[in-house]
C-alpha cells in the first residue's frame, strides 16, 4: 500500500506497462528529458531509453499518425497530447485512421494505441488549456474513451488501457494530478470499462466522471449534513458507457443528476440522460437534470469558477430534483 498523487500513480502505471511489454512505447512532446509538462512520464526515458520514450517533433497529427504506423508494425504506442485543446491537429488521424483501421481491415490489423489527454479546467490557464472535449471522441465508433478520477484508478486504468487491443482515448483530470490517495499494487482492479458506485445513497443518484468526482463526493458529504443521501457513481468509461449501475441506482432513488465540465449539448451527459429515460422511465420521479459547463467557449480563467460546476451547483440540482 502506498499513498500516491495521481501523477505518480500514472507514472508508476506507465512504468509497469513498459516493463511488462517491450512493444510499449511512450511518445509525445517533452515527455522524455523533461518528463512531460505535468511530469507524468518523469524518469521513463532515463530508464527505458530514447527509442521507447520519444521526445517527438511538435506535431500532434504526427504523434497520432506515426503511432498508427507503429501499431501496424506491432508496437503499442502510448501518446501524450500536452493539453486538451491541442488534440485537434491530431483529430483527423484519430477519427480517419486510428478509429477505423481495425474495421477497414476486417479485424486483421488491431490498433492498440492509447492517447493520453490531460483535460478539464480549474487551473487558471490561458485559452486551449482547460477544455473537456471527451464527447467529440465518445461519438466516434472504433474508439474507447475513459476518464480516471483518483490515483488508484489512474494506476490501474492506464495499464488496462495499454493492454487493450483497441484505441483508447484516456482522459486525465489535470487539476487532480496532485491529490493523493492510497494505491494498492497487489489489488485486483475492476475491468477498465466499468462504472463504479463510490458512495451509496438513497435519495438522489449523481453520475459524473473525471475532475468532478471529487466535487460530487464532497457534495454528498454536504448533502448528508442536510439529511439528503446521495449515491455517487463514477462513470469511468465514457464510450462505451457502463450504465447498468446507474439504472440500478435510479430504480431505487428515482432521481438522477449528471455532472460534467463539458458543455451540455450533444454531450456524454446528454447520452446518459437519454439512455436513463429510456431504460428507467417508470422509475423516474423527476426529469434527469444536468449540471455542466456552459455552451460557450471555455472562458478566460477569471471566469472559470462561474463556468465550472461546483459543489453548490450540484446541490442546487439535487434540491431541484427532490422538489420536482
Amino acid at each position: 500500500m502506498a499513498v500516491l498523487t495521481m501523477a505518480k500513480a500514472l507514472n508508476d502505471g506507465l512504468r509497469k506497462a513498459m516493463e511488462a511489454d517491450p512493444r510499449v512505447l511512450v511518445m509525445g512532446e517533452d515527455v522524455g528529458k523533461l518528463g512531460g509538462v505535468f511530469r507524468i512520464t518523469d524518469g521513463l526515458q532515463k530508464d527505458f531509453g530514447e527509442q521507447r520514450v520519444l521526445d517527438t517533433p511538435l506535431s500532434e497529427s504526427g504523434i497520432i499518425g506515426t503511432a498508427v504506423g507503429l501499431a501496424i508494425r506491432g508496437f503499442r504506442p502510448v501518446c501524450e497530447i500536452q493539453f486538451d485543446g491541442f488534440v485537434f491537429p491530431g483529430y483527423d488521424q484519430i477519427v480517419s485512421q486510428l478509429a477505423k483501421v481495425h474495421f477497414r481491415s476486417q479485424g486483421k490489423v488491431p490498433m492498440p494505441v492509447v492517447v493520453r489527454i490531460p483535460f478539464g479546467g480549474g487551473i487558471g490557464a490561458v485559452e486551449h488549456h482547460s477544455e473537456s472535449p471527451e464527447s467529440l471522441f465518445a461519438h466516434v465508433a472504433g474508439l474507447k474513451v475513459v476518464a480516471c478520477s483518483n490515483p488508484s484508478d489512474a494506476y490501474w486504468m492506464i495499464q488496462q488501457a495499454i493492454a487493450t487491443d483497441d484505441p483508447v482515448i484516456f482522459f486525465e483530470p489535470k487539476r487532480r494530478y496532485w491529490e493523493k490517495a492510497e494505491v494498492e499494487p497487489d489489488a485486483t482492479p475492476p475491468p477498465l470499462l466499468r462504472s463504479r458506485v463510490l458512495r451509496e445513497g438513497t435519495d438522489v443518484t449523481v453520475a459524473t466522471y473525471g475532475p468532478l468526482v471529487r466535487t460530487c463526493l464532497d457534495a454528498s458529504v454536504a448533502a448528508a449534513a442536510d439529511g439528503t443521501s446521495l449515491e455517487v457513481i463514477d462513470l469511468r468509461a465514457l464510450s462505451p458507457l457502463d450504465l447498468a449501475p446507474v439504472y440500478d441506482s435510479v430504480r431505487r432513488t428515482g432521481r438522477l443528476v449528471v455532472v460534467s465540465e463539458a458543455p451540455s449539448e450533444s454531450s456524454v451527459t446528454a447520452e446518459v440522460a437519454a439512455r436513463v429515460q429510456q431504460d428507467c422511465f417508470h422509475s423516474l420521479e423527476a426529469p434527469v437534470l444536468r449540471v455542466t459547463g456552459f455552451d460557450t467557449p471555455y472562458p478566460p480563467s477569471k471566469c472559470e469558477d462561474d463556468y465550472l460546476p461546483d459543489l453548490d451547483r450540484v446541490l442546487d440540482a439535487v434540491d431541484r430534483s427532490k422538489a420536482w
Partner: protein, 415 residues
Amino acid sequence: MSVSDRPQAWNPADPRSRPNREQVLAGLRGTDAGGPELVQLLTPEGERVSDPRFDAYADDVDVEALTSLYRDMVLVRRADREGNALQRQGQLGIWVPLLGQEAAQIGAGRALLPTDMVFPSYREHGVAWCRGIDPTDLLGIFRGTDHGSWDPLEKRFHLYTIVIGNQCLNATGYAMGQRFEGRVGNGDGAPEGSPDEATMCFFGDGATSQGDVHEGFVWAAAYDAPVVFYCQNNQWAISVPLSRQTRVPLHERARGYGFPGVRVDGNDVIACLAVSRWALEECRSGNGPVLIEAFTYRMDAHTTSDDPSRYRLADELELWKLKDPIERVRVNLVREHGVGQEFFDGVAAEADELAARLREFCLAMPEPAPDRMFSEVYAEPSPLVEAQREEFLAYHASFADEPLAGSGVGAEGEV
C-alpha cells in the same frame, strides 16, 4: 519548370521581377516538360538512354526483364479499363483510373522486395498488382462490399487510404518501427531471413499541400526513417493544376527537409524502377528518407464521377499521349530487341482473359451479410455495438415473410 526557368526571387523594388501575365497563365496550364533534372532511361520515342547516376540500377533490365515490365503495364491498364467499364455499366459505384500512370507504379512496385512495406493512396492498382494483390481484390472497395479485402500485413501493402495524405504519417511511423527493430543498415550482416527493410509511401501532387505530408517529411527526417516518399505528380488534383499546389518543382522540397529529392520521368518504367531501387537501397542501408517525384500525367478523369473537359484542354492529353508509358516500351522491344508480334499478341490475349475474369468475378460478387457492419468495429467485443446488432436482427426477424438475405435471419435453426 526547372530552377533556371523560374522567375527569380521577387524584388519589391523591381516590378519586372514579378511574374507577368503570360507567366501566370502558363502556370494555369498543365505542363508536359519535366525539365533538365528529369531522370530518363527510355525516351518517349523508345530509345534506351544513359543516366550515369542511375544506370547501375537498371543494368539488369534486359529483354526478358523489359518484356515482363511491358506485360505488367498492359495487364494493369487492361484491368483498369475494365474497372472503368464496369462502373459505366453500373456494376461499380465508382472507379479510380490509373490510366497513364502504369510506368510510375510498375517501376516502383517491381523495385520493392517482399520484405518492404507499402502504404498506398487509392489509385495504386499497379503497385497492388506487384504486391500479389489480384485486381479482383480491389473490386469490393468500388462495388461497396468492403473497405479493402486483402491482409495488409501478409501482403505488406496497407489498405487504400482515402483521406489525402494521412498515409504519409502512417508510413513514417511504420518505418520508424523498422528502424527501432534494427532492420535498417545491417547490409550483408543482416540476419538470414530478415534482410534490411524499407517502406514506400505513395501520394499525389495534390497531397503535397496537406499538413500530414509535411509532417511525414519532418518526422521521417527526425528519426532517419527508412521511407521512400513516392509522389506521383500527375499534374492535376481533380480540377486544380500543380501551380496551385506549389511554386517549386515538388522534388526540390526535399532539400528543405534535409533529404534528397529526385524527379524521374514517371512514364519511363525503366527509370522509375532504377530510381526506386536506388531510393529503397538508400533507405534500407540507413540513408533514408528519400523523396521521388514521378513526373507523369493522369490521362483519364480523377474518378468516374469527374469531367476533365470542364477544366483542362484536350490538346494537353494529346501531348501526353505521345509520351505514353507502354508504347515507348513496345517500340523499344521491337526496334532494339527485335521482339516479334506474337509476344505482343500473347500479352494482349492474356490481358483480355484478365479483363474477362475481372468482369465475371465482379458480377458474381456476393452481397455482404446485412449485419456485417457490426463486426470488427473493435478488437474486443463492444456491448453497445452487439446490442445494436441484436436489435437490428430482431427488427428484421419481425418481418417473418421477408427473411434478411445472407444474415441467417428467418432461416430455421439459425440467427
